[in-house]
Symmetry: C2
Subunit: 304 residues, 2 copies
């Protein structure tokens, strides 16, 4: 299964001349998933050659403008470009209301159906399950309701050791039993333990998108040993007080979360416009968690 994450925007509420508000595209096999959609996302998609109409799912973390203001324009463009496929949007329910109102005031009729799925913010919740992966929303601690999103590859049972298993001439039910971890019971009454006939399944690939949150150790059990963590790092640590009052994090705190959750790799983003040079923030994160990287706009992280 392939996992690619392309960063479209890495700025917090105020953009700079070179940086754009939050948006990224996660490609899992052939599914293109847009996560947050700040103002200008449709232009960033054009710039980095992400086709608007390939997007299958959209996830919007919360109702701050830098995370959703690009959505109405993107939907109109999809329609103008001839989209007819349904589009599933997972977002706060207020966003559905706002977009429908705006389209009604602008006399816009989309040529495709948008299916809105209302996020809940009281507890983690699996909100999407496909053949290849699941998505879970995770409440974050921000000024308003905000959700992180956890993407987990589905792994189907143990892998059959063909060399050992095939000579037994198993039927489908017996193969299924092996994949589920059961031992083989032959017609002669002999049992062959599962471990002899199967291999461990491939580890499920896991990606966590955590934006707009206070430093919050309660996240740790939910993202433990994830392969990839995107975590907001709005400020450098000398502004930790400002981070706290605005319900944001510092780069050092992002590194700390990554380190304590023992993730494979950390990408920091959602940078305040005051930072011209992002190296300062990266160095801070790396001090605590060396496998850190910057959410550089246009960059694609190929994870598998």
């Amino acid at each position: 299964m392939s996992f690619e994450l392309t960063i479209l925007g890495n700025s917090s509420s105020t953009p700079t001349s070179r940086r754009h508000p939050s948006a990224q595209v996660l490609k899992i096999n052939n599914d293109f998933i847009l996560i947050d959609c700040g103002e200008g996302t449709q232009n960033q998609m054009l710039r980095y050659k992400v086709s608007h109409n390939k997007i299958r799912y959209i996830f919007i973390s919360h109702m701050h403008g830098d995370h959703f203001l690009g959505l109405p324009g993107l939907l109109c463009t999809m329609s103008v470009q001839g989209r007819i496929d349904d589009l599933d949007i997972y977002c706060p329910e207020e966003l559905e209301f706002l977009i429908n109102l705006q389209f009604s005031l602008s006399d816009v009729q989309l040529k495709f159906k948008v299916v809105y799925h209302k996020l809940q913010f009281d507890a983690p919740k699996e909100i999407l399950a496909t053949r290849d992966y699941t998505v879970t929303s995770l409440p974050l601690k921000h000024r308003i309701n905000c959700a992180g999103f956890l993407f987990s590859e589905r792994v189907y049972g143990r892998k059959i050791n063909k060399q050992e298993a095939d000579p037994l001439n198993l039927n489908q039910a017996e193969y299924e039993n092996l994949r589920n971890g059961g031992d083989y019971k032959g017609k002669d009454g002999k049992t062959i333990p599962n471990a002899k006939l199967t291999f461990d399944p491939r580890k499920s690939f896991k990606y966590a998108y955590i934006t707009d949150t206070l430093y919050d150790e309660e996240l740790l059990p939910h993202i433990e040993r994830f392969d990839l963590l995107y975590h907001e790092a709005t400020f450098a640590h000398d502004m930790v007080d400002r981070a706290k009052t605005t319900f944001h994090c510092t780069a050092l705190q992002a590194g700390k979360i990554a380190s304590r959750a023992k993730v494979g790799k950390l990408i920091i983003g959602h940078f305040s416009a005051r930072y011209q040079n992002l190296e300062e923030l990266l160095e801070e994160a790396k001090d605590v968690f060396p496998r850190s990287d910057i959410a550089e706009e246009g960059k694609t992280f190929k994870m598998r």
Copy 2:
């Protein structure tokens, strides 16, 4: 008086990788006026070094997203950047409702006051008068209510011919009478005609912003002999039928309006994303009206 027009966006509803939806900044003396505010306008302002907080007035022509979707983000950025001055926005009343609703859902409190002025679409109407200029809204023929905007320099009366008038030792009232075109009546009963003591006033500079409209000759008397006309030219003329059904114009039609209104200069904009090369549209307009130009993003037209 100085007039400068800077183009920030020239695309119609669908942007391209290099073009952005409608927005332009008109600078009259020290007043910065934003006309329309498509998605990404705040980024375009950063790119072309137009300070967000210098904007004194905003005019929004209509409720199609490519003309206003950049406004909520821009207002938030102005607030974050410390604006405290009132901001006057002239727009359809639905936009005030929509923005207030969004800010309430996003828990945004601006640190400055926005004064909304509701546009009317039944007849031309003077909507702003400053010491230096007036602004008139002009109903256009589009799918939904849409207004053009006419900017007219105010010229204060006739110019005094100092060489002739000063030796007469006039008082303030007598000078004012001359400026208003009256003759001079001396204490000796003699009359000196106004023409001997004054010069003609400077011609008022006039700019018309006409976007999103059918080809409409009813506009002509309202923009006659204007110095500068921005007119939409969404399509080339081989698509005149499509222009008609979508309530837009072709470049040739824009040239025709400019020619018949005998304006000084035409700038065409609001181009469909299908045109990679805008020269085709410019040539078409120039065939009918040679003093035509392209609304190139980042270009400043210094008119006086």
